[in-house]
Amino acid sequence: MMSESPAHNTDGEARAAAYWLLAPGLCWTALFCVLPMAVILLVSFATRGTYGGIVWDFSLENYGDLLHLLYGRIFGQSLLLAALTTILCLVMGFPLAYYIARLPPRRQAVWLVLVMVPFWTNFLVRTYAWIFILRTEGLLNTVLVKLGLISAPIEILYTNAAVVLGLVYGYLPFMVLPLYAAIERVDRSLIEAAWDLYADRWPVFWRVLVPLTKPGIVAGCLLVFIPSLGAFVTPDLLGGARSMMVGNLIQHEYLIARDWPLGSALSIVVLTLVTGAMSWYFRAHSAADRARRAS
């Protein structure tokens, strides 16, 4: 260490300064992100006390419990509903985002505000509004019966369909906004070039628009899929007892069963699944990208 040249010293000083500058960000991350996660991770290895407390003796029992078929079913159902929600948001969001991105700038702003207006009201309140619309004597059924389109009210509320509807409703803006940003950046002459080179509508879409907006598509899908997977308000209010999702399960373990260790283990599993899938995607993606650029 004594033999370090002055150049090394200033280098080290620069590095130290860099850490000092990073310190506020690092503290913030440690305090609000790493610390809570570490607590949950610790709790997930503890056991439940007789009256719902946490007993600090290390065990893998919680994770073993999760291998039960019931949990697998709930995980499967959650993944399915979240995937369905993501696909529906993408299919509905893309045309809307495209439409907005191609409007004159001033009208774009109006439409973007309209997309965001629902955020100005509490999510819980908006979900109750859906109950009012969907229930047997609700707005939808009343109108359909009055119009003579159906003879008896249809059961929508408290089904998986209602859950997906609620999730799509809630998370559609998270799909539309990144898609809009991506489409808006696409040079219009690229679309014209494809058109000029004999491409019909679908090839223009698949061969040019989709590849060019892929970052927006990925961002939108992540922003919809991840919160959908962990949702608990929507399935709780619109789905009833049979449409339980992982989010409800975790909430149940924490608040009703008072089994914090099991709830924590569930949270860790969800977190690992999502993070694993994401990092796999980005690694595969950037590797393919690098290979393409290097060749």
């Binding site: 040079d187 002459s189 690229l190 014209e192 070039a193 494809a194 058109w195 000029d196 080179l197 004999y198 491409a199 019909d200 090839p203 061969r207 040019v208 590849p211 060019l212 393409r292 650029r293 060749s295």
Partner: protein
């Protein structure tokens, strides 16, 4: 008429209240390098976009290879556009970009491979087929854009300001290359540009557009030597002007009576056909057609005006001389460099500005 590649009849396009294209009629022959030249806002881009099919004419007709293009979308037209920004697909390789049109036309894979290779060879990019557009220089991107159009063997290649994004030196080089590629493939090229030197160098024929109308169509030398309007004369090349009224028309000659009282009022000019006596006219003289002689000396030319050398600029092949003739009139004179760089005059010299009657063109004053 069978030899027409493009036949445009009374084409009109309005953008709001303005007539972007105002009853344009022109034709382009097969295998020709045709340019549409004009200042920005002349309507040339609108015209090009109507040829490509991106804009719909308000009235009039476009025929390509004898077939009306009314209602035919861009992807069904036998034309390909080379965009000003090149519009290369950033997610496809050079070869992928060039193959795009053939893939859309469902050409068999083996044929696509051969044609893409041949097109890239033609633009000298055979070794860069797997590069991404972002890794290419501006000139290389331009070539890919050209290959992407040519590979489809269209009836017409449309070029939108093809060299505008390149620097001066590359521009010269690409000009020559563009011309030689066009000669090799024999495809009709229609090029829109505001760069008059480029248009003159490249084109077999060109149309000068002004405020939505065609001011003149002809070979480059027609436009330079016998401009049809004052606008064309000013827009193509440098011109020296003298304004006045045309008097005493007689046997193909006339006298221009100068408006400026400081000038000798009798300039002999060749009378253009159909010019009425007493009309306001402007004499156009190109800088290289004017000679300078010592004041009150030299051979007796048709016309001579006294002047003073104001500036001298050495550009290598020529001396560019500005001579002040009268208060408001200064002419540019290009003198060949024949004396190993020695200046032919010095600033302040009194000279006689002389020219032959046949070298001037008189046009109605617009």
């Amino acid at each position: 008429m069978a030899d027409l590649s493009i036949d445009i009849r009374a084409l009109v396009k309005r953008h709001g209240a303005t007539l972007a294209v105002d009853h344009i009629t022109l034709d382009v022959r097969r295998g020709e390098f045709f340019s549409i030249l004009g200042p920005s806002g002349a309507g040339k881009t609108s015209l090009l976009r109507m040829l490509a099919g991106f804009e719909t004419p308000d009235s009039g007709e476009i025929l390509i290879d004898g077939r009306s293009m009314a209602g035919v979308p861009p992807n069904r037209r036998p034309v390909n556009l080379v965009f000003q920004s090149y519009a290369l697909f950033p997610h496809l390789s050079v070869a992928g970009n060039v193959a795009f049109g053939l893939e859309m036309k469902r050409v068999p894979q083996a044929e696509i491979g051969a044609r893409v290779a041949a097109a890239l060879e033609l633009v000298q990019l055979g070794g860069k087929r797997d590069r991404m557009p972002g890794q290419l220089s501006g000139g290389e991107q331009q070539r890919v854009a050209l290959a992407r159009a040519l590979v489809n063997r269209p009836a017409v290649v449309l070029l939108d300001e093809p060299l505008a994004a390149l620097d001066q030196q590359l521009r010269r080089q690409m000009q020559a290359e563009l011309k030689s590629i066009q000669a090799q493939v024999g495809v009709t090229f229609v090029c829109v540009t505001h760069h008059q030197e480029e248009a003159l160098a490249l084109s077999d024929r060109l149309a000068v557009m002004h405020q939505g109308r065609v001011a003149q169509i002809g070979r480059p030398q027609d436009l330079y030597e016998s401009p049809a309007t004052h606008f064309v004369a000013q827009f193509i090349g440098l011109s020296n002007e003298l304004r006045g009224t045309v008097a005493e028309p007689q046997a193909g000659q006339a006298t221009l009576v100068c408006a400026d009282p400081a000038l000798p009022n009798r300039i002999r000019v060749a009378l253009p056909a159909g010019f009425r006596a007493g009309g306001a006219g402007v004499l156009i003289l190109r800088p290289e057609r004017v000679q300078l002689a010592p004041h009150a000396g030299g051979a007796a030319p048709d016309n001579a005006l006294p002047g003073t050398v104001e500036t001298l600029r050495y550009i290598g092949s020529e001396w560019h001389c500005v001579v002040r003739i009268a208060g408001g009139i200064a002419w540019t004179v290009h003198l060949p460099n024949r004396m190993t760089g020695a200046p032919p005059w010095t600033v302040g010299d009194r000279v006689s500005v002389q020219w032959n009657m046949a070298d001037g063109v008189v046009l109605p004053l617009s």
